[in-house]
Amino acid sequence: MSGGESWGAAHPAAGAAMSGGESRGGAAHPAAGAAPSGAELRERARRAIAEQPGKTVTVLSSLLAAQDELHYLPFEAIEEAAMSAGASVNEAWGVASFYPNFRFTPPARHSVEVCWGPTCHVLGAQPILQGLARHLGLDGEGDTEDGSVSLKFNTCLGVCPHAPAMSFDHQLAGRMSLDAAVSRLERVRSGEQGA
């Protein structure tokens, strides 16, 4: 499991905005490139669930394994996790929707996390995350409309001596300012465009 990614946003309002909106409105997957077919997603999820290394296999461990593989949980993955545990897909959804770390739409191409732990907060995380969100045209956490960047708030990236800290595609960056964040973000984005 990739450390930075799995200890993510824990703000209740943020969680609600992510999973809540979808669970009530039905999953709308923004197209990010050529989407793999349902059968392909199911097969990958099934393999990931079957090959979990841990001894104790639960709905939760299966969901984690599937998300590690697919980077999000499509319906097929939730159903496979349920079937592997002999549970109903609605029960598995209860587990999946409980944790804000699970996402149900394909992630954007780049991940940008802003730490808002106490140290980062004191040293100026707030202007960064507000400014970045504005820069990306978001209200808060979320994916940009073009599917290029996922902005997430992180409770602690674990590098307090380097506060305010951020991560760009899971690469840590310290002593950030809003300007530095925006320029790094754009470099990350354009690197993708150049690739």
Binding site: P12, S23, G26, R42, I78
Partner: protein, 950 residues
Amino acid sequence: MADEITITIDGQEVKTAPGKMVVQAANDAGIYVPYLCYHPGMKPYGACRMCVVEIEGQRGTPASCTLPVRDGMVVNTKAEEAAKVRDTTLDLLLSEHPHGCLTCHRVDLCGPQDVCLRNVDVVDRCVTCPKNERCELKDTTRFHAQELVSPLTYQYRNLQVETKDPFYDRDYNLCIVCARCTRACDELRGDVAIGMTERAGQTLVGTVMGDSLLESGCEFCGACIDVCPVGALTESAHKWERPSRTEQSVCAECPVGCTMTYEVNHWERVVRAVPELNAPANRGQACFKGKFGFNYVNDKRRIKKPLLRRGGALVEATWEEAFAAAAAGLAGRRGAAFALMANPRNTNEELYAAQKFARTAMGSNNVDVASNDRPGIVEGLQDVFGYFAGTMTAWELEESAVAMVVSANLTEEQNVLAVPIKRAVRAGTQRLIVVDSRETELTRYASVWLRPYPGTDPVLLGGLLRAALDNGLTDAAFVSAHAEGWDDMAASLEPFTLDAVAAETGVPAERITEAARLYAGAGPAALLLGGDSSVGGTRRTTSRIAAALAVATGNVGKRGAGVLPIYHGANDQGAWDMGLWPSSLPGHRFAADAAAREEIEALWGAPVPAEQGAGNRRIFDEARAGRIKAMVMLGDHVHYEDGSLGDVAGALDALDFLVVSGAFASAATERADVVFPAEVWAEKTGTYTNIERRVQPLRKVVKSRGVDARSDLEIVAGVAQAMGADGFAWDGPEAALEEIARAVPEYAGITAERLLRERLDVPAFPADEPQPTQVAYTGNVLTGLRWPVPPEGAAEEPDPFAGILRYGKARLQPVAWHPRPRRSAERPLALAHGRVLIQPGRKPDIVAEGKRNRVEREERLALHPSDAADAGLREGDAAVAVTEAGDERRGVVEISDAVPVGVISLTTLFGALAVEVDASDRPDPMNHIERLNAAPARIVRAEAQPTEGA
């Protein structure tokens, strides 16, 4: 463990049983403890914290719904600390629950014709919430008379009300997250079609990704609605209609015979059905038919007056004219030229009168009931046990270690019978064997699923019996004590070798042995014998073998063990008991038996014909052949139009004279010479006998409005009397029941008055105490009487064999080998159409069409590779299966080894049926649901629709 312990609640000594929770003990003793998430019958949960109490010598305020009683425990429900917790809890609940009902200053002042603050006429409803005054949150808040701490506003969740699914409206703005609905779906029904989603303050009830109930695994049983304490879950029909009274009666949709409480509004409309929590047949459960299928009672398209055919058209007439016309038309067509068909919603009294009329006034044994398309399954049981009936009760099934369901689609047809099976399988106390060529909902729960070629049930069961014998799995002591004919029966099993059976049925030999070992060796085993995939003539053999299998393995007359015939009609058991059958008289006596005839003749004072009459399908064959010239038909049924009784319309056209009683126009009334407007089930009194042989009283739920209708009892008696026949002058169903108790020995001791006295003792609560709807409605639980009827006051069935073995011993019968049915070259395959709640991996599309959702899915016609090769079809081809009756089923071909040779396997979704029934504009759609019997078919490539991407 002590059987009884004493605890003190609020200073009152209460005797209770270990294992109970404090809230239950208090409720049983009539002490009210407020609660919102607890519900009798469900496991302790502890979500709402309303039932907190103080216990002497214990710190804090534990929730009494999760606190087991201890001897000597001293409970204080009114302690100040607990009251504070409750006040806060209520206040928090109300901060998110729209509570106009509590704050509207006119809520107690509204009268009819007022205009409400919200600018609607207040006629019989309050528009603030669809719970119609049964809200437990409102009642609890009022009961406490607590001051609302928070301002009289609430945070509205602003969620879309879910109204697009059939039967249900779900408004999660009103939800208090007590989780009763999800627990009911999980613990009580075993479906988990809904679950809890998200967490903390966002937690709500929902389905995966907000899916429609049509694809979430919902069987539309309504259990979640029944337990919802607030207005979040409601029936969409009559949503805003407040009942003015309730009446308890018995559902008429299937042979389980669920007791229901019907809510009636003050226009004599049935607006809701709530299953009775403590009724022995259903224990608080119902199904989509019982919960949502009663609306035909309210339909205005009734036949309103007697009709006579004059000059080719039906014209209104008086009852006297109609009786006279019927009598005149029937008079010259007595004997074998006459037949009578009843319907499964007829009461015992009506059925008794009908067969008596056919036999005495018309001199004919041509009588049957429309739903009785598989008499063989009870004839075989009669051959062995002596009665046309099963041997066990519905809820014993929860105690069975094994259940074997043969060719029966319980979830759809006899829904509540599947509930104890699913519960036990999920609890790990039962293993299930399903014998069916179709995929049904129960196959998901099965440890062993045998898929024989349709029509080979008798061979397969014979194979199981032989395997039990060969493997030493029989109970010799039981057999010698309780059975005769063993040697002949055992000898007749000679051809049923494993290999021969495997070859004939297509079921692998090792699976047969596995099933035999499981059935015979795991503990009390129940055998539920349907006959959906059987072919006429073999069912009697199947049922003899089933009975022999049960006897051979000692699985009769013990708790959790027995045989149940799985038929369709709500009162088919009553029809057999009443002798509404071509070969038998009242009391399971044969018309061919001179002594039996004499007994009945003595009672009736009229001769009884001896010759075997024609039944169900043969009646219509005879009519088409011109040998039956006149008929009386009581009511309508799906079998008149689905081909299972042959060409019914053609038969009716061929008749000289037809008398029909019915509530709605039908193909039969169109062809009738005399039409009588009949009362519907909810307008009648009388009795029904359910699958457990339980005779249950039917109550008059509503009066007929604007319809000059009479019961079939009055109609039959009226025609009989117009013909000058004696013995029909009953002054009501009670008097007819009195005669039945004399004519049917098994019913001796049953009177209408005693049926209303046989009830469960359920503590009643003061009306002002908030209670769940099902708890508030219980308290008058009529249990009915299982025949043979115990003396008054005695326990039901002291001797487990009483009422099972008529002749003292089971009479085992030699077994015949029925080769697999030959298929015509034209239709070489059998279409096995099954229905399930969900198919993992095969999610349908849900299309919102107007106000409702619809299921859309490309269906699959699955074939064995060899059949696909014969038909020249490849995987993914678009194909169409065409049956004998001309039904066409389209789909794409799927080639699979799992499908038996010779079978086209098609599995559709229950949601599609729910949509179809809900959207039907027929007056009585539940009476017209097509059955999924296996049918000869051929499969061809679909020409019309070019496939995309195939």
